[in-house]
């Protein structure tokens, strides 16, 4: 639906390209990050960027279902961040 709009289509396409590039750049911090919390922070950022990509795709394709997809991705990202940070603390205590 957004493809027949003269103004909105290029803006949303540019936003999609920028968000995808930023997600790839955050992967650098996941690989290189000096400590484990750096990697957790970078993975959290990637999760938020993927939420933004899903919303931009919902605007681009005109299908409102992808907004629900972004909400589910946000919930999964929050649960995974809590699980990994708790695992980091407990793992240090056990060893």
């Amino acid at each position: 639906m957004a493809s027949d709009l003269a103004l909105l289509g290029p803006v949303v396409d540019a936003g999609l390209i920028l968000a995808a590039a930023l997600t790839l750049l955050a992967g650098y911090r996941v690989i290189k990050g000096p400590t484990v919390p750096d990697r957790v922070v970078a993975l959290d950022t990637i999760g938020t960027n993927v939420v933004a990509i899903a919303v931009l795709f919902a605007l681009d394709s005109g299908q409102g279902l992808f907004v629900t997809v972004s909400l589910v991705l946000a919930i999964i990202g929050f649960i995974s961040t809590i699980a990994v940070s708790q695992y980091v603390i407990e793992g240090d205590i056990i060893e």
Partner: protein, 110 residues
């Protein structure tokens, strides 16, 4: 969908993309895990919330637009919680603060 409607959605998309850019540059360039967590948890949440607000303006107050509002509330509730948990686990792991003179409150400065 008239011109004003498109202009509002495009402006919100531009603002959201700018805040995503600021957050990721902060993640890549800041020197410490606490500084990086600060940059990403504020700026990236603002960016994603602005994009969700663009989705609300695009889809109207029913269906997908209402889901966008629920997504904004969820992000504003959970992003500070996750950032607090990450910084607390980093402190318990003993990740040092950046700089020589910075200390945790309660620590004796030798």
């Amino acid at each position: 969908m008239n011109e004003i409607h498109q202009l509002v959605v495009a402006a919100l998309v531009v603002v959201g993309s700018f805040f995503l850019l600021v957050g990721t540059v902060g993640l890549l360039r800041l020197p410490d895990v606490y500084n990086r967590m600060h940059a990403t948890s504020k700026a990236t949440t603002l960016g994603a919330s602005s994009l969700l607000l663009a989705g609300f303006v695009y889809y109207g107050p029913q269906g997908a637009g209402l889901t966008s509002l629920v997504g904004i509330v969820f992000l504003f509730l959970t992003a500070p919680t996750g950032a607090h948990l990450i910084s607390r686990s980093a402190q318990k792991m003993g990740v040092p603060l950046f700089g020589k003179e910075a200390k945790w409150p309660g620590e004796e400065s030798d």
